[in-house]
Symmetry: C3
Subunit: 146 residues, 3 copies
């Protein structure tokens, strides 16, 4: 890849992740499913203390995420990506992140406010970039009881 | 436009919006006026429940914004832009955003902390990009009474 | 420099600053030292009311920062960079920022939550960009007593 192709790939991956966040917080589940590769893996086991939280494929990922936050007011923000294009069809990246969740009355907790990093890989399929793997690590998580 | 012109336009629009935020929060009203096209429209009607909040042209926009926040300690941050260059002189974009406002003693409320998205269009005039239209939608707004 | 070299330099500087944040918050002091030019100057005198807070060179910078926050849970985020490449080996930039610090029991204060801007210069040495000077200005700082 030349310098321009590399820069274009980085911009496309930034917009892919922007779409991930926007669809997640506006609960656009069709759009959200569309950011993942067919065999994508989401590893949120850090959120569950290692008890589950890993799933594969857009359908399973959407089912898990939707089940967890459909009724929750969520804001997820991503910052300062470090994206490395490792071949014309593969890339990896780290994103700083912050999320703010607020449950409705009767929820398991009142709110969660967290900070951390997404560690991701990406794959280009027929010219378009998709998220291939996503793992979340945490710097800090604050919760309010229900 | 070729790939390089497109990437350069995206970077210029990102820096245009960065200037919007910096001038807004440092109360640099001359700089702030300079980010808008002559016929720019700002639609903040979501903030007012649809009662006003729409204005046109840099002078009217600065008057409205300055009147609302000149004495308010403000922080506005923008995240993960999805910018689409639709022609050599037009573009559109969505930005995730967060704002934190704190009023002085005697203000109508104590503080506001909000999250949402800016939906924008841009125009290039004599080689420079300007904001042409800006509409704010909200995911969540928290306020503290005075 | 042509348009592509300029865009590549901007992306490299964004990733340099991303590394600054990630290494700072994960307490990767070797990685953190690696983002600074040999004669880099960090000016955090706004944090100290002008009493100190200026240091020079990666070793002194890491010593100061590490001494201040090694035991502190920190999150630093950077937003909407305005980076201007002023020559093939020099650049300058402004970043919006937010930081959230929480001290352990017995610390001087309980927490600090701040907002402001980094004003920076960069230097390219043997093909790689480094932070040459970093100055922090504040829009707002909130603290909780111990």
């Amino acid at each position: 890849m030349d310098a321009v192709e590399r820069l274009a790939a980085i911009e496309q991956i930034k917009q892919l992740k922007a779409r991930y966040f926007r669809c997640l917080d506006t609960k656009d589940w069709t759009g959200f499913a569309g950011v993942f590769a067919p065999d994508a893996v989401m590893d949120m086991s850090a959120e569950t203390g290692g008890h589950g939280g890993v799933c594969q494929g857009p359908t399973e990922i959407v089912d898990l995420v939707r089940g967890a936050i459909e009724a929750v007011q969520t804001v997820h923000h991503g910052h300062t990506p470090e994206i490395d294009v490792t071949s014309p069809t593969t890339a990896e990246g780290v994103w700083a992140m912050e999320d703010m969740l607020r449950w409705p009355e009767g929820g398991p907790i009142r709110s969660m406010h967290g900070y951390g990093h997404y560690h991701e890989t990406y794959e280009r399929i027929e010219g378009q970039w998709f998220i291939k793997r996503i793992t979340l690590t945490r710097l800090r998580v604050d919760t309010e009881p229900a």
